[in-house]
């Protein structure tokens, strides 16, 4: 039996004295786990170069994070794994053929410019990986856009090594689009978006682990589906398959599950998340249908990212027991009505 001397000072801290098992690093680890199926699919579909690109973006992200924190004399934040997640997500946004130095440059943009210059984790106002993708896209359009590798091209054989158009571009053109089966399991595109199945698997894992709520992916994808179905029907195409190609094509699934759900750059309240996700869906659809660029998902997310502070202000929940002006009036009215009735009845 251990006795305590009266002088011993115990830990005195504010309540609560227990904590849920959720930690920042555990959440980031879950995101990494959720990305692994898509990474594996990427390696199978585009070959071992995927691993090289991913290793470079992760390494460059981690090094940039470490150095920038040091230069800015802030505490080290490598332990939260957020830099690893940023690197991984950036890699997923790049074609497997990208020169490695460009991939590294992208990481520096993501970590230093988008994240650390605004204060580090939790402070960036746009998604770092998306900003880096857009910077790369604008700076090196040739490397980013016209070098899509066909699925399984790395194994050689009779398939064309390099296709000139993404599936969605092919859809708009003269055919040659892959089948829906291919679209679901293995298609050309960026590293992370080639296998819809793996992305859905990862997304479900995140929801099961309660890392993300389903509201953003569902509203984002749902909005695109509704828009595309109506557009398809109006423009007398096969509306259903048109919609499915759009849902499985481009970066929609990857963006909706992994990038639009980024905590820092999405609204806090459920109402806000709905507005944000519907906005993403609408902008994506409009760009895809009426625009020239292939950047529907990334532009939509980054535009909505910028609106997040305003959405948060507009959708701040009403504190418990506070009666909103309108409702109060209605209540007053109904109370008066009740009074009148009572008077009338007596």
């Amino acid at each position: 039996m251990i006795k305590m001397s009266d002088e011993r000072i115990l830990t005195a801290s504010a309540s609560p004295h227990i904590k849920s098992p959720a930690t920042t690093s555990r959440i980031m680890l879950d995101v990494i786990i959720a990305l692994i199926p898509a990474l594996a699919a990427g390696v199978i579909i585009f070959g071992p170069r995927v691993l090289a690109v991913t290793a470079v973006t992760i390494a460059a992200s981690v090094v940039s994070e470490h150095l920038s924190r040091k230069v800015m004399k802030r505490h080290n934040t490598l332990g939260d794994f957020s830099a690893v997640v940023t690197g991984l997500i950036l890699a997923f946004n790049l074609p497997s053929t990208i020169p490695l130095w460009m991939a590294a440059f992208g990481s520096v943009i993501a970590i230093v410019v988008a994240k650390q210059m605004f204060g580090g984790i939790g402070q960036n106002f746009v998604n770092p990986a998306i900003l880096a993708r857009i910077v790369l896209m604008v700076s090196f359009p040739a490397a980013m856009l016209s070098s899509w590798e066909n699925a399984f091209a790395w194994r050689g054989g009779g398939i064309d090594a390099v296709s000139s158009a993404t599936p969605l571009a092919a859809l708009g053109g003269t055919g040659g689009a892959p089948s829906l089966f291919q679209m679901f399991f293995a298609r050309s595109g960026c590293i992370g978006e080639a296998c819809a199945f793996a992305l859905i698997l990862g997304g479900l894992y995140l929801m099961a682990k309660r890392v993300i709520l389903p509201v953003i992916p569902v509203c984002f994808i749902g909005t695109v589906a509704v828009f595309m179905f109506i557009y398809g029907a109006v423009s007398q195409k096969d509306a259903l398959s048109f919609t499915l190609y759009h849902l499985l094509g481009g970066g929609l699934l990857f963006g909706a599950f992994f990038m639009a759900t980024d905590y820092t750059t999405s609204p806090l309240s459920i109402k806000g998340k709905i507005i944000f996700a519907v906005g993403c869906g609408l902008i994506t659809s409009v760009i895809r249908v009426f625009g020239n660029m292939t950047e529907g998902v990334s532009f939509s997310i980054i535009l909505m990212n910028i609106l997040v502070p305003h959405i948060d202000n507009m959708t701040a929940p009403t504190p418990f027991g506070v009666v909103k002006e309108k409702r109060r009036k209605r209540k007053k009215q109904s109370a008066e009505d009740a009074c009148e009735k009572e008077v009338a009845s007596t």
Binding site: M1, I2, K3, M4, D6, E7, R8, I9, L10, T11, A12, S13, A14, S15, P16, H17, I18, K19, S20, A22, T23, T24, R26, I27, T77, D80, S82, G120, I121, G122, Q123, Y263, T264, L268, S269, D312, A316, P317, T318, P319, F320, G321, V322, V323
Partner: protein
């Protein structure tokens, strides 16, 4: 009102937010044991919300159990009684668990626990008699807040239509309310009847979390045992999600009504009483013995033999731990109350108070890790039962924006701890909310209505 076939109600309105905590009700099946009479008790004069009492005895006086040792003329206050018989050895000061200094009466026990001669069952026929009796009993809210019960019950006649008996016990570890339901269920019933009749309250709802099936069974059997078969006493089960036992949350669950910011339960026609307080009233009406002891759950990773105990008020915390086999590992934190809202104390040389319901001791491995940067995940806002946004409040404090802070509603925070509990970055958000409340108070604004 959602009604199950068994006649047990479920919550009228589902409550927002909250967190799932591991219950750790390790002592649920342990009968309450009375600790041996301590050799000395230190009875603080401030064990309730309101005016502290002034000592009514002098050094050298011989006192017996139930004799008044401190009283006040203020309305919001409750008299304090001797909890052991013996000799007053000091009338001085003591440090309370919250760090404040209070006047205190020290009594050296003669080990006999002689009852005070003047103790007899009070004559209660009217509302005024009843309130006077409750005041004389020294009863304060035993759930933890310590608000004088006679003040709570002193509402204008007819203002209250629902009495909610709070047996939720949503804090982890604590099992005293549960034991009260099991061990003293008839006290609960007779007290409810008295309150109902004398204070003219038509509806009574006993609210309890659904993780205590035994207690639910006992309570529903007493609720239906009422002779006339009037079903005015109902048992309502709540989902076992912290903080179902919080007063405003409970009122919403039971009646669907929302207490306005800065308001009291009586503003929406409700009064909420802890089940131990309710049971005590019955015993007082029967015997006239005032509040001199209370039951506590003693548990935590550092405690050798977790127990439910009944101890005289003013007993030394260290002595209670000794009775529970001492510590099996060195304690790093000792809490009076539950782990979500309880108070961490700095040592064991402190007296237990009327409103304490648990003593928990934790070892090194239960200590919280340091704080990291906010990742804006929104969990704090998502779990807040009052729809507040602690992370936004933190930013507003940094920005020194009083107006926005006022609009954020921070002043209604009840400090339930759900935000800090769920924060992955381990931020002390309750502390942030307290700071916000303090700033708003300083700014001369209590955000009333």
């Amino acid at each position: 009102m959602g009604q199950k076939s068994s006649g047990i109600l479920t919550a009228v309105k589902k409550v927002r937010g909250g967190v799932r905590v591991s219950h750790n009700k390790n002592t649920a099946n342990l009968e309450t044991v009375r600790i041996p009479t301590p050799s000395k008790v230190v009875i603080p004069m401030r064990m309730h919300i309101g005016a502290p009492c002034a000592p009514a005895v002098n050094v050298g006086d011989i006192v017996s159990v139930g004799q008044i040792v401190g009283d006040s003329t203020a309305f919001v206050s409750a008299p304090i009684h001797a909890t052991v018989s013996g000799k007053v050895t000091a009338v001085g000061q003591v440090e309370l668990p919250d760090g404040n200094i209070s006047k205190a009466v020290t009594i050296e026990s003669d080990g006999e626990m002689r009852l005070f001669d003047g103790i007899e069952p009070p004559k209660v026929e009217t509302r005024e008699d009843f309130l006077k009796a409750v005041r004389n009993s020294g009863l304060v809210g035993l759930g933890g807040a310590g608000f004088p019960t006679h003040v709570k019950l002193g509402f204008p006649q007819g203002k209250i239509d629902t009495l909610v008996v709070n047996a939720a016990e949503c804090e982890p570890y604590i099992t005293v309310d549960y034991r009260e339901c099991i061990e003293n269920s008839w006290d609960i019933l007779s007290s409810i009847k008295a309150i109902k009749e004398l204070l003219d309250i038509p509806n009574v709802i006993i609210a309890i979390e659904n993780n205590k099936p035994d207690a639910i069974e006992v309570l529903s059997s007493i609720a239906s045992a009422e002779e006339e078969g009037v079903d005015e006493i109902k048992v309502m089960t709540l989902s076992s999600r912290y903080p179902q036992g919080a007063e405003k949350i409970m009122i919403q669950s039971a009646t669907g009504r929302r207490v306005p910011p800065g308001g009291l339960p009586s503003d929406v026609g409700c009064v909420v009483m802890n089940v131990c307080s309710v049971a005590f009233i019955a015993r007082y009406l029967k015997t006239g013995k005032p509040l001199v002891s209370r039951s506590l759950t003693v548990d935590g990773s550092a405690v050798s033999e977790p127990k439910n105990i009944r101890a005289p008020i003013g007993t030394n915390i260290g002595g209670i731990f000794d009775f529970c086999g001492g510590f099996k590992e060195e304690p790093k934190k000792i809490i009076t109350g539950g782990p979500m809202m309880g108070l961490a104390v700095i040592g064991t040389d402190l007296p237990i108070l009327k409103q304490n319901n648990a003593l928990l001791a934790f070892t090194e491995k239960d200590m919280l890790k340091g704080e990291r940067d906010c990742i804006r995940c929104g969990r704090c806002a998502f779990v807040c039962p009052f729809s507040l946004q602690p992370t936004v409040v933190e930013a507003l404090i940094k920005a020194d924006d009083i107006e926005a802070l006022k609009a954020s509603g921070a002043s209604i925070c009840m400090e339930c701890g759900s935000c800090s509990y769920s924060c992955p970055a381990g931020k002390p958000l309750v502390q942030t909310m307290r700071l916000a409340k303090y700033i708003l108070k300083e700014a001369g604004d209590k955000n009333e209505r």
